[in-house]
Symmetry: C2
Subunit: 204 residues, 2 copies
């Protein structure tokens, strides 16, 4: 975690405090594990600040229950009960988005993805949350289900102080260009190379 | 998250299930954010499995309150109250390890680090936990405060089914050699390059 001196002080007319508290657009990309996991770890920090957290899971099936979902929604319930931390909402595409009356199609993923993005746009415009995880959102962009130019212009013009983390492989160059922070998770060694399959508690 | 076919089936005499459930030694290294954050995200999954989770934070000052600590220990309290998830213990070097009667020296970091490692050895031998985060543990190895050969042999011979994640830059080659899973967090773009300092809720 780099701290202390920054390599340059930009001539952007902002004070250090203004610059420090500027909302972040982060992208976690690369071929390797850790992209979503690190985003959910950041969401724990956001929860601890009392920030409203929203997760939008693209692609993953509803049957794919991730441990982070249970843990973060448990933290959200703790907030409701004790006031500790912040509220947490978790939306999944696989089973039909929770705000949508129609059942998830499980067949028209392009329409489901577009519907998810439309809700994110509404939430950003309403400043509904403070910390957003757009999990596996690189794929709908890659597959043309959601227009990358619209995403970049919407995210770049989002009002207030809303942090957004986008995860997934093959992040679009325009998204990387627009991001403040881009981390690539790179494989050095993976147990599947040695014939080991994924296991509960580790992979999900 | 890779799934499905593995590139080879090793002639190790293990069944797929035995191989699948083999305890993992993972290393998160590289220059970039996300090493610890992803490890704490994995700890959420472990919590969700009901596994006893232990975090040993090396190096970080006690004053450096990370959001993940508050969130994971809140999950640990939730477990005590409701039985949901698993127990969580969080040990920090900066203020003196919690099991130690002497105050943290804040001056003799080498002795503090050696004391932390001695406790980890005892906990592993006793199978006290199921999921261990050895946060920023690469540095005591790098600086010679803890002997890397002893660490590698202890971790390699740990009994039962205990998963261990080590985080930090400049992981020792012997540790990487011993690990099942190594992820390197690589910088593509960081806001400090544009003169932005770290901010609360994002960096800690």
């Amino acid at each position: 975690m780099p701290q202390g001196q920054v390599p340059l002080v930009p001539a952007d007319g902002l004070t250090t405090r203004q610059r420090r508290n500027r909302p972040l657009l982060a992208v976690h990309t690369g071929e390797m594990k850790g992209k979503s996991t690190a985003a959910f770890g950041m969401a724990m920090r956001a929860w601890n600040q009392g920030w409203p957290v929203a997760v939008y899971q693209f692609v993953k099936s509803a049957k794919w229950k991730v441990g982070e979902e249970n843990a973060l929604t448990a933290l959200g319930r703790l907030h409701e009960q004790t006031g500790e931390g912040g509220p947490v909402v978790w939306h999944k595409m696989g089973s039909g988005w929770s705000w949508s009356r129609r059942q998830g199609t499980e067949t028209d993923h392009a329409a489901d993805a577009a519907e998810g993005w439309a809700q994110i746009k509404r939430d950003l415009a309403a400043e509904a949350h403070r910390f957003y995880v757009l999990d596996e959102f690189t794929y709908p962009l890659k597959w043309g289900w959601v227009d990358v130019d619209e995403v970049v212009s919407t995210l770049s013009a989002r009002p207030g102080n809303q942090h957004v983390v986008v995860t997934g492989r093959d992040a679009h160059p325009k998204l990387i260009e627009a991001a403040d922070l881009v981390v690539e998770m790179t494989k050095v060694k993976h147990p599947m190379d040695a014939g080991q399959k994924g296991q509960r508690g580790i992979e999900w």
